[in-house]
Amino acid sequence: MIFCKRINEDLSVREEHEAAHELLFRSIEKLYGISSPRIEKGEHGKPFFPEHPEIFFNISHCRGLVVCGFSDSEIGVDAELIRDHSPRVMDRVFSGSERETVLSSENRNEMFFRFWTLKEALGKCLGTGVFCDMKPYSFELSGERPVCAAVKDKIFFQKIIYEKWVVSVCTHDPKIEFIFEDQ
């Protein structure tokens, strides 16, 4: 289950983070009836509920949007506002085919963030983040769902919201539902 909520676009990164946690706590109460569970962080900073290890979650925030996802197995979620992309980041993180896809796209910025959010969602699901070498995790976007040949035991979902944000999810759960919370 993926909860998305629009937020004020003028918030600072820290405030976005707080808004994402608010959404997390509200959503977990609705989904599981758990009120304000304690959160701890793992080795790489991935948060988890120590008293509810059966519940896996992940949050993401960007300008104007907060997202949190729940699953019964590891899950990674990333949301990004579509904006100017950085060729330098692309060179560092994207595979050759991904770079070609971006550069040949009519909408390079959107294509960049489609790949970027997939990589970040994968990194968050694995718990490694995107600072390890992500080039081997090359994504293909031509099918119904994004596919990463290097990761066969995970399923990826992606949504473009209001033509403004991209949200990507990496999980084992084949059934993911996106829910948009009222503002």
Binding site: K30, C62, R83, V89, V130
Partner: protein, 265 residues
Amino acid sequence: MAKKNIVPEETAQAVAEAAPVAETAAPAAEVQEPKPAAKRGRKPAAAKAENAEKTEEKKPAAKRGRKPAAAKAENAENTEKKPAAKRGRKPAAAKAEKAEKTEKKPAAKRGRKPAAAKAETVGTAEKKPAAKRGRKPAAAKAETAAPEAKKTSRKKGTSYEEVVAAAKKKFLAANITRIKYPIAVNVELSGSVSGEFYIYVDADNQTIAVEPYRYDNYDVNFRADTDELLAVIKGKKNIYDALAGGLVKVSGITTKAILIIDAAF
């Protein structure tokens, strides 16, 4: 599961005709430039002061201002006499009971306003250094942070000032010509030395600043073990290995984190 305030995706789509949701589609792009920190600014923390006598600081006109973190001070007579300029950092705390002096805070070009100055019976004032983009320094809890950091730094032979100086040297040499947008990085140190400093890339003027203050309205926040960060700064360890090892962690806008890392390392 989802109830009252939750609108299923289909409903949301129907309601927002002008803003449709497309699954794995590639609609026309809407390029949005990041707003400057000023626009995303936060409101300052409150300045609590009980029985303060001369706590009022001269606050600079802050373009991006934010109020500074609190300056708690109890028994801060000794701590505050340390010239902030020498330490290049605003004094951790201003906890001072029955303090007497007041602080003169420097004009900050883009100054964030300092976090609240909590002071119980405060009095002592310090002359704080001028910060170019100053955020006022992280909270000044005198009893804990500053003394402890100093203690450990003596033991390890490294001080907060040395860490900031090393970072400054490293980042001032960074190649930022490919950075198009401002990047504000807050660095939280822990371990042998604790404290915070910031790195700010002014893309318009192609300048970079490293100052011993906390930057609240950051784009990127690094939380780092001091020794690990020093090893990275001195080239003894690869930054990506440090990130993979978990002793340096990044939060915030990751694309900007990559840009600043690549520019400096």
